[in-house]
């Protein structure tokens, strides 16, 4: 008959399935073991988008191209918003590309639990793999779109000679990392909060749109009067967009102080995001 295991508590158990999990208990080793799954998810995201299309991955370029054209017409020609002297095509293409990455990352990761309930309900793998894969496949799409931006950018540097980029472009990978982490942080918090009560998810699309207007995406920071700029700086996205524009377009403001603020903000956001995600992932399937 079964002898009780109370006497041998020192025994090693690989998995302990209980009702509660304390704090920041993420199993990094396990996450690493599932890296191939992450790669598969990324591959799936990329190739399923353009299966059975003729233009294939070119579709990734058409979207920012058209958005740029629309912005040039609406915000540039009709609303006559300033672009700080930068050619509107270049100005909008840069910010649109970057904004799309952030908003898509946030939007997609904020649906992690609700959209993958079918898979999550049948098999276990570290749930964090899924939002991470969305971040990664987003980076791949961004790279394609960034390629287009760089072509336009080089044209303006070499042919038009209208902009002067500077050495701050070396910070771009770091900027991208903060963008990704912030999108992920917001996304996993939202998905965790909406498994049981979905009210918040109605606000997401609307909120992202609102956030764009609260960030110097389609207008330069200099459009605001100097005493009002502080309010824009408090938005952690502002310093990132400004730094990007400063490095590539030679306009905008590069502030290490506010970049530090954004980084700390993102780190805290991600920290709490992971804690709440971890807590929710254990039982969400009962209520989603």
């Amino acid at each position: 008959m079964a002898q009780h295991a109370t006497g041998n508590d020192a025994e090693h158990w690989d998995i302990n399935i209980t009702s509660s999990r304390r704090g920041l208990d993420i199993n990094l080793a396990e996450l690493w073991r599932y890296k191939d799954l992450l790669a598969m998810f990324v591959k799936k995201d990329i190739i399923t988008v353009y299966k059975q299309t003729i233009l294939g991955p070119i579709w990734f370029l058409i979207q920012p191209l058209f958005t740029t054209l629309i912005y040039v017409v609406i915000f540039g020609r009709m609303a006559k918003l300033s672009t700080d002297g930068v050619h509107p095509v270049l100005f909008y293409m840069g910010s649109v590309t970057l904004w799309n990455y952030f908003s898509e990352t946030l939007n997609v990761t904020s649906k992690t639990f609700s959209e993958n309930a079918a898979v999550f309900g049948k098999v276990y793998f570290p749930r964090l793999i899924l939002p991470l894969s969305k971040v990664a496949s987003g980076v791949l799409k961004l790279m394609i779109q960034l390629g287009l931006f760089l072509v336009v950018w080089l044209y303006f540097i070499l042919v038009e000679q209208s902009i002067t980029p500077n050495w701050h472009v070396v910070f771009f990978p770091a900027l991208l990392l903060v963008f990704a982490a912030m999108g992920l942080g917001f996304g996993i918090i939202i998905t965790s909060l909406t498994t049981k009560y979905r009210d918040l998810s109605f606000l997401v699309v609307f909120g992202i749109q609102l956030l764009m207007y609260a960030t110097p995406v389609i207008y330069p920071l200099s459009l605001a009067s100097p005493d009002k700029q502080i309010w824009l700086w408090l938005n952690p996205l502002t310093s990132l967009f400004e730094a990007f524009k400063f490095a590539f377009l030679g306009h905008g403001a590069f502030s290490f102080f506010w970049l530090g603020y954004s980084t700390v903000f993102t780190a805290v956001l991600l920290f709490f995001g992971v804690i709440i995600f971890n807590k929710v992932e254990k039982k969400f399937i009962d209520t989603v």
């Binding site: 079964a2 295991a5 090693h12 158990w13 690989d14 998995i15 302990n16 399935i17 209980t18 009702s19 073991r33 599932y34 191939d36 799954l37 790669a39 598969m40 591959k43 799936k44 190739i47 399923t48 299966k51 059975q52 898979v119 999550f120 309900g121 049948k122 098999v123 276990y124 793998f125 049981k196 009560y197 254990k282 039982k283 399937i285 009962d286 209520t287």
Partner: protein, 420 residues
């Protein structure tokens, strides 16, 4: 050497909320949160009803599992049986870490792979090849492991020609074969299987069972949930019988299955009445007793397809010197008439008489049956009819071979069928 425990479950319970999530649940959540914030107990942990799906809800909470304890040893093949709602699937979900228990804990040694469904994560747009890698990765295999098994999987599924075609163009059979192929080539220490064998044709079922048998013989642990007693019997050394969220019995498969059948099969094998008190009938005929006696070596009440049995009836004849014959109709519970047999007519005196019908083994198929008895006078006038006099289930035998699908046919006779 003492056997090593690989799964140890302590007092696990799982509570589900009935009804919809809405403002009502919010108020419960707030009360729960308030109680926990003050260091009190969760006020909803004590309430809740047993998970009897046929009953009307008396509480907003139901316990799908309640204080379940068990241990599974390394290399064991454990079957889990029980009616719908017994908590089998909930238990599998907990073991697969899809959700977590409300209370208690399960400790596990080694890697678990669960097959709650075949083809989890299959994407219709991806090709067979891509889906093998996708599905394998979801099940926890690394790319290297999948590459090593790739040819075997394709071979097992028999889809070599279509390997670079999107699976949305696959026939459902090919799809299932490919999906099971990936799962069957996982090499976890513990494999959890939920009735995936219900799919596919006989040949494929044979393949699947064979593969699972292989896995078990390599010292890995298998947990297998099924409604199919035969599959459980052939695959599992020990079995756990669950009912309404509780474990009723654990032990050697044969013993547990017998226990399950004798408790769950709703047989009505005996009816007795007293004349002039409650005996059904009329002035001409009163039925006094009806009985089904299985001719089993161990006197158990379980009738399988090989068991011969006997019906015995006693009745009171109220009309002197009546020319009576009895006619018996055997129907399945779903209303299909299997046969109608009659006794020769006999001139009966007023008083108590009895009648016997012997039914040989190897005649009836596995099903639930009910009988109706007709009392006929002069082979024409109906004296009395009683329906649903007895109800009994004939269960399947322990089959040889590897096919466990439902045996078709109204009857299941053994005939002289030879092959040279």
């Amino acid at each position: 050497m003492s056997k090593e425990v690989v799964i140890h479950a302590e007092n696990i319970s799982k509570q589900y909320r009935l009804g919809q999530v809405g403002t009502g649940t919010l108020s419960h959540d707030l009360k729960r949160w308030w109680a926990l914030a003050r260091g009190r107990e969760d006020p909803y942990m004590k309430v809740g009803m047993d998970n009897d799906r046929t009953q009307k809800a008396t509480s907003e909470y139901a316990w799908a599992l309640r204080d379940v304890n068990f241990e599974i040893y390394k290399g064991d093949t454990l079957g889990i049986i029980g009616k719908n709602g017994a908590g089998k699937s909930t238990l599998l979900k907990l073991l697969s870490r899809v959700t977590s228990p409300t209370t208690g804990q399960i400790k596990v040694k080694g890697r678990i792979a669960s097959l709650l469904e075949v083809g989890t994560g299959f994407h219709p747009e991806l090709t067979g090849r891509e889906n093998i890698f996708m599905n394998g990765a979801i099940m926890g295999m690394t790319k290297k492991e999948i590459k090593g098994k790739f040819d075997e999987i394709v071979d097992f599924a028999g889809v070599e020609l279509y390997i670079d075609t999107p699976v949305k163009r696959y026939s459902s059979g090919m799809y299932v074969r490919l999906a099971f192929g990936v799962a069957a080539h996982l090499e976890p220490e513990i494999l959890i299987v939920d009735e995936v064998l219900a799919v596919g044709d006989a040949e494929f079922q044979k393949k699947c069972l064979g593969k699972m048998g292989d896995v078990a013989s390599h010292g890995r642990t298998i947990i297998f949930v099924s409604h199919n007693m035969q599959a459980v019997q052939s695959l599992c050394k020990s079995t756990m019988y669950m009912k309404a969220g509780k474990v009723i019995d654990v032990g050697p498969t044969d013993k547990v299955i017998n226990n399950y059948l004798s408790r769950e099969v709703k047989n009505c094998l005996e009816q007795r009445w007293t004349l002039d008190v409650d005996a059904p009938g009329n002035d001409k005929i009163r039925v006094l007793s009806a009985e089904l006696i299985p001719q089993t070596p161990d006197n158990s009440n379980i009738i399988d397809v090989n068991t011969p049995f006997e019906f015995r009836f006693e009745f009171y004849n109220g009309v002197d010197n009546a020319n009576i014959n009895l006619s018996l109709v055997l129907n399945t519970m779903s209303g299909v008439c299997i046969f109608n047999v009659g006794t020769p007519a006999a001139a009966l005196s007023k008083g108590i008489h009895s009648s016997t019908l012997k039914v040989p083994g190897k005649l009836l198929n596995d099903d639930v049956y009910t009988i109706s008895l007709y009392f006929v006078k002069d082979t024409a006038a109906m004296q009395y009819v009683i329906h649903d006099l007895l109800t009994f289930e004939v269960v399947d035998e322990q089959r040889q071979g590897a096919w466990f699908g439902k045996w078709v046919g109204a009857v299941r006779p053994t005939l002289d069928f030879s092959l040279k």
